[in-house]
Symmetry: C2
Subunit: 302 residues, 2 copies
């Protein structure tokens, strides 16, 4: 099971009960951050999330509301005597920022900070381990900006317990069955793979897209993901502002979700000019029913 | 009337309901910040303080918990279309930090940011206008650190209304009386200055001292202030930690307050290791009765 927690849902400037961009993705035993606006460490404390479990941080772009919380978070990790390295991904300039901070605040860290500069004009794999891959792809904003996808790998099936029971399956067959072969026993009986295996889980995927103007190609990058976060700074009635500032409306986000045939859509990054978020909900749902309005502290299982 | 609002009271790392260092001083129609830890802008919003009224920011030292909120606050001021310049005071490195941010986040500001580097080994006046002066003085910490004093100017007395009434005082005499002269009327009657004037307010003073180890000279710098904020990271039972980390205990803070004969003492900057702050209160009050424990959002009139 994976859980997304909304740590902030406000655009540009914070508002009462709306902090700045950051989503926490929790997996089995560890977690990763998407963006790290100012105050992210406070939100982690508020929502009782363990700071030391964060293994990766993905920064979309270098506007302050998306990364000003990085300095404080890393500093707190040091104060808590973290020793495990951390991997931070983001556009050109991220390394300079971290180096400038280190030079000025002369803090240093108790652990290695591995900075990975993302630089791609298409969808590219930027990280991979046994369990999942991370992809980055360009968004359309006033500065270099990337969206990210967490893609769990296809899990090998389990052999059904009822089949293993009372049957003396040679050890070398276990991997062969898990890899898709039919099983043939010592007297030549054939057992079809699909009858003797079961997939307990389907691989999960989550896409994080902010900040961006509407562009149709985005729907190809995030095709079929389980959970799509797409910024929705404005309502369609303020579409001129969205275009001028290279942001999206609730309708834009919903249209991308529909084109991409995603399972569920989360909208957020709301402009502080709107007090009531129910209009975002309504507007998006007329286009894409399975929409969730990001509110602070909201947890979404997927 | 002046009001201090405690925006943060935690040392180094934040804790639940304990944000990072920042005090807001509100005066007639404008305000100034002492330190600006991460999340200061959120606290200003929480406690309904107007961000555009801040005219000056005084940074004590370049440890993250005292200045990482500056970037976001300035950025928000720009988003709110501030045009009035702001004056920021702090040690060497502050300018580099702001320039690095500007280069990387390529944000720019809608207003002038005037950075004033403080560099003094004694108590020096660093700012003055018609109403008040600001002094800086060195503290004793692991990096270059300054304390600050806000000192209201001695207000000229008012001429008693009962004396002005029905008496034809020549216009040129008004300033002479306000400046301390006795009044002599056209027939030679002398009216002693003290009998015909009244001081409505006594000039107020506030000192902000964090982070610092105990050193007796500090009591000379802050002699007789109305309100002294002195850090108190530890309890005396952890005095070894205080000494090793160049911080103070509640007893240290109270001893400085006593030596300096201040009116009231505020203690804060508590280590996150302490859950209950009542021990700080008790410890300080055994030495200096008029002690206030800084809690988030606390407002102190002086």
């Amino acid at each position: 099971m994976a859980i997304i927690t909304i740590l902030g849902n406000s655009a540009a400037v914070p508002a009462k009960n709306r902090k700045l961009s950051a989503h926490l993705l929790e997996l089995d035993g560890h977690s990763m951050l998407f963006d790290c606006g100012e105050g992210t460490q406070f939100q982690l404390i508020n929502f009782r999330k363990k700071i030391h479990k964060i293994s990766h941080i993905f920064i979309t772009h270098l506007h302050g509301d998306h990364f000003y919380g990085l300095a404080g978070l890393l500093s707190t990790m040091s104060m808590l005597n973290r020793s495990k390295p951390i991997d931070i991904f983001g556009p050109q300039g991220l390394q300079d920022y971290l180096e400038a901070l280190e030079a000025i605040a002369s803090s240093g860290h108790s652990f290695d900070v591995n900075v990975h500069i993302v630089n791609t004009d298409n969808k590219s794999k930027i990280f991979e381990n046994n369990d999942y891959s991370i992809y980055a792809f360009p968004l359309l904003h006033s500065v270099e900006t990337y969206g990210y996808i967490y893609q769990q790998k296809v899990l090998k099936p389990n052999i059904k317990k009822s089949f293993i029971k009372d049957r003396n399956i040679p050890i070398e067959w276990f991997n062969r069955i898990k890899n898709g072969e039919d099983f043939i026993d010592e007297v030549g009986n054939v057992f079809a793979n699909k009858d003797i295996t079961e997939r307990l889980k389907s691989p999960k995927s989550y896409a994080y897209c902010t900040d961006t103007a509407y562009f149709e190609q985005l729907s190809n990058y995030v095709q079929d993901v389980d959970l799509l976060y797409h910024e929705s700074t404005f309502l369609q009635s303020n579409n001129e502002d969205a275009i001028a500032k290279m942001h999206s409306t609730a309708s834009d986000a919903a249209n991308i979700a529909k084109l991409a045939k995603v399972d569920r859509l989360i909208i957020g990054h709301f402009s502080a000019r709107y007090f009531d978020l129910s209009d975002f909900d309504k507007e998006a749902k007329t286009i894409f029913t399975n929409t969730i309005v990001a509110t602070e502290g909201l947890q979404i299982e997927f």
